[in-house]
């Protein structure tokens, strides 16, 4: 069973990075670190996709010397998907950073748990 295992460094690095990013996003308490973790997770997926589009010994998918033979170029689809994905992740990052600034203005902390605690305290004081 292990004989036919396919071991490739890019894909494995991408999966390791995905795990690191996912854990950071889920469990790190600092908001900025969470956002960095989200970016790491996203880029890991893009690295995986880009690695899947690569074909050994072929060229960049841009027409050169009028050759239109598919056997000359790598797969352009993953590149297109990743381009879209990068823009999506930069938008999400900007939004989360803006939220972080507003939360810091209000609660003077970057720690999500401290923010939650001071929010609860504030509400109890109001009642």
């Amino acid at each position: 069973m292990f004989g036919e295992l396919n071991l490739n460094l890019e894909e494995e690095a991408a999966m390791v990075l995905f795990g690191i990013g996912f854990t950071m996003l889920l469990l790190h308490r600092n908001l900025i670190k969470k956002i960095l973790g989200m970016n790491i997770m996203d880029t890991a997926i893009y690295l995986f996709l880009a690695a899947k589009g690569y074909i050994a010994g072929r060229q960049v998918p841009i027409l050169t010397d009028g050759v239109t033979d598919p056997a000359a170029y790598i797969n352009p689809i993953p590149s297109g998907l990743v381009l879209t994905g990068i823009v999506v992740s930069v938008s999400t990052t900007a939004l989360m950073l803006a939220l972080t600034i507003r939360l810091y203005e209000r609660y003077h902390s970057l720690d999500l748990d401290r923010i939650l605690i001071s929010m609860k305290q504030e509400e109890e004081e109001q009642l």
């Binding site: 890019e10 390791v16 950071m24 670190k33 880029t43 381009l83 810091y104 970057l110």
Partner: protein
């Protein structure tokens, strides 16, 4: 070439782990910037210059600038608190 790729991928993982464990936020953002640049080089090696150019402009450029301005803003708010 293989060795070079291996080195790049290893440094990618090292960068990601250090982003997670470094306590200083500014330092971790700078490490993240270098992470994006390494990713750029890997994408060039994977024959995807479109991605490399976008990641260099968006990932290493604009995203990092946004992180820096956020950090600076937070410092400013803190300073204001102190002055009051």
């Amino acid at each position: 070439m293989e060795v070079f790729e291996l080195l790049l991928l290893l440094s990618l993982v090292v960068c990601a782990v250090s982003v997670a464990v470094i306590r200083d936020l500014l330092a971790s953002i700078i490490v993240f910037m270098s992470y994006s640049l390494i990713m750029c080089i890997i994408w060039i090696l994977l024959q995807s210059p479109d991605l490399a150019i976008t990641e260099a402009a968006v990932g290493a450029g604009v995203t990092s600038v946004l992180f820096f301005v956020t950090l600076k803003k937070i410092h400013a708010i803190r300073k204001e608190d102190r002055d009051e």
